[in-house]
Assembly symmetry: C2
Homo-oligomer: 193 residues x 2
DNA sequence: TGAGTTATGGACTGTTTGGTTCCTAACGGT
DNA sequence: ACCGTTAGGAACCAAACAGTCCATAACTCA
């Protein structure tokens, strides 16, 4: 009962995701969010409590959407060689930049900023990156070259690749020449072969 | 002539560097800087114009201090095997974190934040990272394993390693479990051998 | 010693920040 | 038709922000 909401909550979160994705948590101002989401202060605070809580909802949504699809790709048994999955994951990162998408990764941006010190936000970031790490490890297990390695060495390579992912996503947001990003992705492909 | 300055400018920049290093550009407030540098608003604005100009001075100082010493290590011909230089560079990154230093790299933090869109700041970041890249490339040239590679492949590996550096420095500032950072550094050592 | 010059430090300013309040609108149940 | 409840929207708020102003202090030079 009561007056019905005039906007769709999940649509609003999707729009908020876009705003946070572009600006990062601290740099996304309330006017930015209000404008991007198409609602007024009263509605936003009634529905989402405050900016931080909205961001937590957004992180949740991002995890289920972007991170999960990355994990799915890394563990997609339809591509039998795990290396190919990893390579296409990094190819996707590069392609996004090539197409002018400089948003990077919401989690990586959050990890790099002051909000990383917020325990709850940090947990989301860690969980998301851990899922990616798990996917990478699985892909390596499915690689003919790496499946014969001992577990420890494979996990070290997985962590190395995860770190590479973070680095690429940060560079994607920066003004550093994108040739570096392209080369780095090609370097990964060579390194895995 | 006129009243002499009561503080040492280079000492003040050093202290400002520390503040920006810990907080990043946008998160370092004027009170933070004033407090950390031990001077008042009037003095700071008289000597450094404004926050942004001070940050540019700091970037300059950081480049000559931290970045240059990294480059020197990467091109130190006293260590004949270039791989060893790269490995000890990453070992230094890990050791810093192990010793509780979570400041990361001033340039990487700047690259990850909104200030990366400031052209002049971006130039400093790019220049600094380019110097590191050059050092890495030289080190690879001095590696028995990699000197026989063709130039292109070696540069792709250099870019890969630079990206790794950025990723590690970002993770160092985050709450992501530091085991990942340790593993990643070990992974690099294995990968280069 | 007085004139010119520059540094200092605190008070002040205007803007932007995230967040709150409160009146009104729009509904469901009785 | 009225009541309870919830949403919407604009006005409002306190705090923090970077930056400015100005009276005073500390010096050099004539």
């Amino acid at each position: 009962m009561g007056r019905p909401r005039e906007f769709n909550v999940s649509k609003a979160i999707e729009r908020a995701t876009e705003v946070f994705w572009v600006h990062g948590y601290e740099d996304a101002s309330l006017p930015d969010l209000l404008n991007g989401m198409g609602l007024t202060r009263g509605s936003l605070y009634k529905a989402f409590t405050d900016k931080r809580s909205l961001f937590l909802r957004v992180l949740d949504h991002y995890e289920r959407r972007a991170v999960q699809s990355g994990y799915d790709m890394l563990t997609d048994s339809a591509i039998s060689d795990g290396r190919k999955r990893i390579q296409s994951m990094f190819a996707n990162v590069y392609d996004a930049v090539k197409d002018g998408d400089h948003r990077g990764c919401l989690l990586c941006t959050a990890a790099a900023g002051p909000s990383a010190n917020d325990p709850e936000i940090a947990k989301h970031v860690t969980d998301g990156l851990s899922l990616l790490r798990k996917g990478i490890a699985q892909a390596l297990k499915d690689s003919p070259k790496h499946c014969v390695w001992d577990e420890g060495k494979r996990l070290r390579l997985a962590d190395h690749l995860l770190t590479q992912y973070v680095g690429l996503r940060i560079i994607a947001r920066s003004q550093v020449p994108m040739g570096i990003l392209e080369h780095a992705c090609e370097g990964i492909a060579e390194l895995l072969d």
